[in-house]
């Protein structure tokens, strides 16, 4: 029967034969669970008892939950601190590294190396750095200079930036590499023209380099925003004694989801939180694409 098909028909048969398993996979492992998560968010379920219809109950509970609003704020603080800091740092590093030749590859390697580490391992290393005297490296160094010690992870104000630091540190190398590739993609003729016109470096930077880097900047901003909104590994591992603590000062949305679902077994409530996370990610990505693509 196959022999009687036209070439075009044979192509269709092959295409669907190749796609059969993947289409099944995406349906069962991606689309069905997505729908299921939305469905569960409208139900009450503690894994053991019956699933009962809850309507908007879970969302109302979320709206009235002070912990959720604290967590919501934390999540955006991670985003609003992490994204600009890592964007500026990685641009400055890439901009200057791009102008160097001597040991260029070696310097690039130093900046990229942290990207190859595992978040869990590095969270524990940084956690050790942050301990009090005589354990923690940072406080030992401060003590060496006679500076009073700083409470990093125990303080409600310092803990969030302290947890954010290793996340920024680990992602920096990736952004530097992407920025450097973006810088190289700018045709040198622009710079030559600017040189002939005797334009200063600052004008070149703001009038040529940054506008032409727009696609790279869009990519990095969207990519790192999604990363900071989903922060979990660092927070969980740096605060295992009191996850998200002290007093929920470091708790991001993903940690609240994990807690609600796998410590509290309140699946409906946790699913409602995941729907909120999904909505936030969607809105933030769309706004950024809009803002940065236009003009």
């Amino acid at each position: 029967m196959y022999r009687n098909l036209t070439i075009r028909q044979k192509q269709i048969v092959w295409a669907w034969a190749f796609l059969a398993i993947p289409v099944l996979f995406y349906t069962i492992i991606r689309f069905y669970p997505t729908g299921n998560a939305v469905l569960i968010s409208f139900q009450n379920w503690n894994l053991l008892g019956d699933r009962t219809w809850a309507g908007m109950e879970n969302y109302q509970k979320l709206w009235n939950d002070p912990v959720f609003w604290k967590v919501f704020k934390n999540t955006f603080v991670y985003l609003l601190l992490g994204t600009p800091i890592s964007l500026v740092l990685s641009f400055v590093i890439a901009y200057h590294l791009d102008k160097l030749r001597f040991m260029h590859g070696f310097l690039r390697m130093l900046y990229f190396l942290p990207f190859m580490t595992s978040a869990v391992a590095m969270a524990w290393v940084w956690r050790w750095f942050y301990q009090d005297v005589p354990i923690g490296l940072f406080n030992n160094i401060l003590a060496g200079f006679g500076i009073p010690q700083v409470a990093f992870l125990q303080s409600t104000t310092n803990a969030l930036p302290a947890v954010l630091a290793p996340a920024v540190w680990a992602g920096l190398g990736f952004q530097v590499i992407i920025f450097m590739a973006g810088l190289r993609a700018i045709p040198t003729s622009y710079y030559e023209a600017a040189k002939i016109d005797g334009v200063g470096w600052f004008t070149v930077l703001t009038q040529i380099t940054i506008p032409l880097l727009r696609p790279t900047i869009v990519f990095i901003v969207v990519f790192s925003s999604i990363g900071f909104l989903r922060i979990f590994d660092h927070v969980f591992n740096m605060t295992t004694n009191n996850p998200g603590g002290p007093l929920n000062a470091t708790k991001p949305l993903v940690l609240m989801i994990y807690d609600t679902a796998f410590n509290g077994f309140d699946m409906g409530y946790a699913a409602a939180q995941t729907v909120v996370l999904f909505t936030i990610l969607l809105i933030v990505s769309l706004i950024q694409l809009r803002l940065l693509r236009s003009t």
């Binding site: 192509q11 269709i12 092959w14 295409a15 669907w16 190749f18 796609l19 993947p22 996979f25 492992i29 299921n36 998560a37 569960i40 590093i93 200057h96 102008k99 160097l100 030749r101 040991m103 260029h104 390697m109 130093l110 900046y111 190396l113 942290p114 190859m116 580490t117 595992s118 978040a119 869990v120 391992a121 590095m122 524990w124 290393v125 940084w126 050790w128 750095f129 005589p134 030992n140 060496g144 190398g173 590499i177 992407i178 590739a181 993609a185 990519f219 989903r230 590994d233 969980f236 591992n237 295992t240 993903v254 989801i257 994990y258 679902a261 796998f262 995941t274 999904f278 990610l281 990505s285």
Partner: protein, 289 residues
């Protein structure tokens, strides 16, 4: 971004030598060098502490006075890290192979075949990029519970066997394979599976390598899902194991640093060997993806 379409290689070559070697250049180099050294300090301290005796751990010296591998012998003799390491290797390897096969097959099909439903399949797969893993873990957990996948390799692996990112990346790269090659192979009597495997795949080897690195690293360091799906200590992956190990009541910091080093050193070694290759892969994925 691909409308500029410079190859990753040209983007990574150093620029022509600047004529001036003035003070500004030297200062720029020095500051970047100091910054770079600061960047690797956490890694350096992790390794240095893992080689220290307990009495020296809280000393800020980077170089241990009397280096020892005692911490490594202790941690490995304990046995758990050994298993976690093996689990992580098995899971990351199988997942990587699966991604290489399926992502490239789907990418190839979507790129080189014309068939009804092509656009909708492409858009459907691409749209899964917008769904965060965190939204899926609860349904995946329920699914694993129903089918008895909790606490098994399959349970840890199944969500990551194919990725939309990999599919999209491979589709972009198959664009560069000329249709004439495929047509010629058809005339030679190869079937479509043979054409994909023997003609198209060898032409996208750099992209496959980049994808392999990303998938392997991603699975080696994955934390949230393995944490949820594993219950018994024997099934933990390295990150889950390390997290629990660090949390035990009286574990000394030098032992935690040793565990952290065991989980980090393999990827660092791979990076140092394939450095140029990996950075090129990051650029390719960044530009095309």
């Amino acid at each position: 971004m691909s409308d500029i379409a410079p190859s990753a290689d040209t983007l990574l070559m150093a620029k022509p030598a600047p004529r001036s070697r003035n003070m500004g250049q030297i200062l720029r180099w020095l500051i970047l060098f100091i910054g770079g050294i600061a960047m690797i300090m956490p890694i350096a301290y992790m390794i240095s502490t893992s080689l220290k005796w307990p009495h020296e751990v809280y000393n800020v010296n980077l170089i241990p006075e009397e280096p020892t591998i005692e911490n490594y012998t202790y941690v490995l003799e304990d046995g758990r890290f050994y298993w976690w390491f093996v689990n992580s290797i098995i899971i990351a390897t199988i997942t990587t192979i699966c991604n290489l096969l399926f992502d490239s097959l789907v990418g190839y099909t979507l790129c080189k075949f014309r068939f009804p439903g092509r656009t909708i399949v492409f858009i459907a797969i691409l749209s899964t990029l917008m769904i965060p893993t965190e939204m899926l873990v609860i349904p995946w957990y329920l699914m694993s519970q129903a089918f008895g996948w909790l606490d098994t390799y399959w349970g840890i692996m199944f969500p990551g066997l194919m990725t939309a990112f990999g599919t999209f990346l491979m589709k972009q790269f198959f664009e560069s394979v000329p249709d004439d090659f495929i047509e010629a192979a058809r005339i030679d009597g190869l079937n479509e599976l043979q054409i994909w495997w023997t003609v198209a795949m060898p032409l996208v080897k750099p992209a496959l390598a980049a994808l392999a690195i990303f998938v392997f690293l991603g699975n080696w360091t994955a934390f949230l899902w393995p944490l949820i799906v594993t219950n018994s200590v024997d099934m933990y992956t390295i990150p889950v194991g390390l997290s629990g190990f660090g949390d035990e009541a009286d574990v000394a910091w030098e032992l935690i640093m040793t565990g952290a080093a065991i989980s980090t050193i393999p990827t660092l070694i791979v990076f140092l060997i394939f450095q140029r290759f990996i950075i090129r892969g990051v650029v390719m994925a960044g530009l095309k993806g």
